[in-house]
């Protein structure tokens, strides 16, 4: 199931790359931070596709929390290792909240989550200057049902690669 989701997301990102001049499949917010970089091939361990799917680009949070779970720390360690060997990339960590909460508070909560990821990556040796954070609050859910099965996926921080060379 998770693999399928990733595959769908990957397809969407490829589509984004393909039609970067004509809007994007997430709703046409061309100024939002969805980078239109070439994702490359997942079999290539230096490719963004590999980072996103083989390593995993996102961690999840408990309700109203911004502290990292052991699973999240494991995944971020792998992200850090990848970022160490692929120095051409800067990252933007996007923090998100589920829809249970007021708008302003959720922007602040998403910022806390993104910052938790930033601080952890930084503690693992990734320079703070390579990491930006942004919060989308509850504005960009991935799953849209109104129960915990969706909320748990929406409470996330996503590490988005930005290739300085491209």
């Amino acid at each position: 199931m998770k693999k399928l989701k990733n595959a769908i997301l990957f397809t969407a990102l490829v589509m984004l790359t393909a039609c970067s001049n004509s809007g994007n499949p997430f709703g046409g917010n061309s100024n939002d931070t969805f980078f239109g970089n070439d994702m490359g091939d997942i079999s290539n361990p230096t490719s963004p596709a590999y980072f996103q799917q083989a390593i995993g680009d996102r961690v999840f949070f408990a309700i109203d929390q911004s502290n990292l779970s052991p699973e999240a720390m494991d995944l971020l360690s792998s992200q850090a290792t990848w970022l160490m060997t692929n120095g051409d990339y800067e990252i933007i960590v996007e923090g998100h909240a589920d829809e249970q909460g007021t708008r302003d508070y959720n922007v602040a909560l998403g910022a806390r989550r993104a910052n938790s990821v930033k601080e952890y990556l930084n503690s693992l040796g990734i320079a703070a200057s390579r990491i930006q954070t942004v919060s989308y609050g509850k504005e960009r859910p991935i799953e849209i049902c109104s129960n915990e099965s969706c909320y748990s996926v929406n409470r996330r921080a996503v590490t988005v690669l930005n290739n300085l060379g491209s």
Partner: protein, 436 residues
């Protein structure tokens, strides 16, 4: 722009104001609306027939929309008003149980200038309430003139300022929850004259009117980061409040004199409240805590600020001086409290409350006493006060895959809950001051 000319004209049949028993005391929470009759205003010129009819309907809708008045339909009237200046046959209006009668006349001259005159009568005491009034303006401003008439009627009967000649700025929404497109929109308080202020290329949220209604603060993601913008309503141009790439600013609000702006700024995962002097850009940090401090709102005298903070472990409401410093907590009920907004009268705070999986719009006194929840739903949030502090508009979102957002209004007594009709989904309303 048009100019409204406001003039009292000579009282023909003498108004004994003090004797008038025709009165609604809004504070008591009106359960039985006052019956009134508004025959279609008399068209004094042939080209005024249609505008007279439309204008009368807006006056009727304004009054009935408050929940304080009930219109007696024209079909129940036993007589007609054929001349604005003739004496009223009060018995004809008594038999249909009209407490109030409003008569009016409308004329349009060759230059396109619209003139509206009206009178309000207390049917049972057989007296005019106040004196006749005349408004004039450009013919295409007929809606505003109708709202002015209704504001005056409301004011005479309730003793309070009206709120009909006002506007609401909000976020207009289309598309599903995962790819929602948002743009700023402006409309009359009753949903007429919708105008879009931004495109929907970037997420926008939480617009807030300036005290004069000439500017709007909002948050835009156009730079890739949430950033407070200041928009000039006249020329529909925006500029960032702080031009600093990569910083996150949001939750803006004007001071009552319009000279400074409160907002939240994120730094290292922490969000605090700041105040900027618009004249020179000077910034003062007002809160210093590792907690989330956001959603600030000034008291009407500009001396205090109510805001939300999770410094206690959950979202709660606090009041501090306009210069920052010690804050006192005012919300102590069970659940979480956010988005506080100070009432225009200064005596109450409206807020969003989350409790047991439900959201409520509520009001409380400044010390947290007399908490009253006005609504309950899957997700209600973001109250804004009517200019007279009697009505609250907020956004309500429905749950599930096809969930959408729309605007609702409710009395501060909790009565008269009803949707505001907008062309698309809508959220984050902010009510303007009363226009002049």
């Amino acid at each position: 722009m048009f100019r409204l000319i406001f003039a009292a004209f000579i009282i023909l049949n003498g108004g004994a104001l003090s004797a008038a028993p025709l009165r609604i005391e809004i504070t008591q929470g009106v359960i039985e609306p006052m019956p009134f009759a508004v025959p279609v205003f008399i068209a004094e010129t042939p080209n005024a027939v249609e505008v007279a009819r439309n204008l009368t309907n807006v006056v009727r809708n304004d009054l009935t929309g408050t929940g304080l008045f009930r219109e007696i339909p024209t079909s129940a009237h036993v007589s007609k008003i054929t001349s604005f200046s003739s004496p009223v046959q009060f018995s004809d209006w008594q038999v249909i149980n009209a407490d109030a009668l409003i008569t009016g006349s409308v004329s349009v001259n060759n230059g396109g200038k619209l003139t509206v005159m009206f009178r309000v009568y207390d049917v049972f005491s057989q007296q005019e309430l106040g004196s006749g009034l005349k408004f004039s303006g450009n013919a295409n401003s007929w809606r505003r003139i109708a709202h002015k008439v209704a504001d005056e009627v409301y004011s005479r009967i309730t003793g309070e300022t009206g709120y009909f000649d006002s506007r609401i700025v909000f976020v207009s929404e289309t598309g599903g929850k995962a790819q929602r497109r948002k743009r700023l929109a402006l409309m009359d308080y009753d949903g007429a004259n919708v105008k879009y202020l931004t495109d929907s290329n970037s997420i926008v949220m939480a617009p807030r009117f300036s005290p004069k209604g000439d500017k709007v603060l909002y948050t835009s993601y156009a730079s890739g980061f949430p950033q407070v913008q200041i928009l000039n309503v006249g020329n529909v141009r925006s500029r960032p409040l702080i031009n600093q790439a990569g910083t996150m600013t949001f939750a803006p609000r004007f001071s009552p004199n319009g000279n400074s702006v409160l907002y939240s700024l994120e730094n290292g995962g922490n969000v605090d409240i700041y105040r900027m002097q618009l004249s020179n850009g000077a910034v003062k940090r007002l809160t210093r805590s590792p907690a989330i401090e956001t959603a600030p709102s000034f008291s009407p005298d500009g001396k205090q600020i109510v805001f939300e903070s999770d410094r206690s472990g959950s979202q709660q409401l606090y009041i501090m001086s306009a210069d920052g410093g010690e804050a006192r907590r005012i919300s102590f009920g069970s659940g979480r409290y956010g988005t506080p907004v100070w009432s225009p009268r200064g005596d109450m705070i409206a807020f969003t409350k989350q409790s047991k999986g439900r959201f409520h719009i509520g009001v409380m006194r400044l010390d947290g006493s007399e908490e009253r929840l006005l609504t309950a739903s899957f997700l209600d949030e973001g109250p804004t006060w009517s200019p007279n502090g009697r009505v609250i508009v907020f956004s309500r979102s429905t749950q599930g895959r096809n969930g959408t957002s729309s605007l609702y209004s409710v009395d501060i007594s909790g009565r008269n809950l009803k949707p505001l009709i907008t062309p698309e989904g809508a959220s984050d309303p902010s009510w303007s001051p009363l226009a002049r």
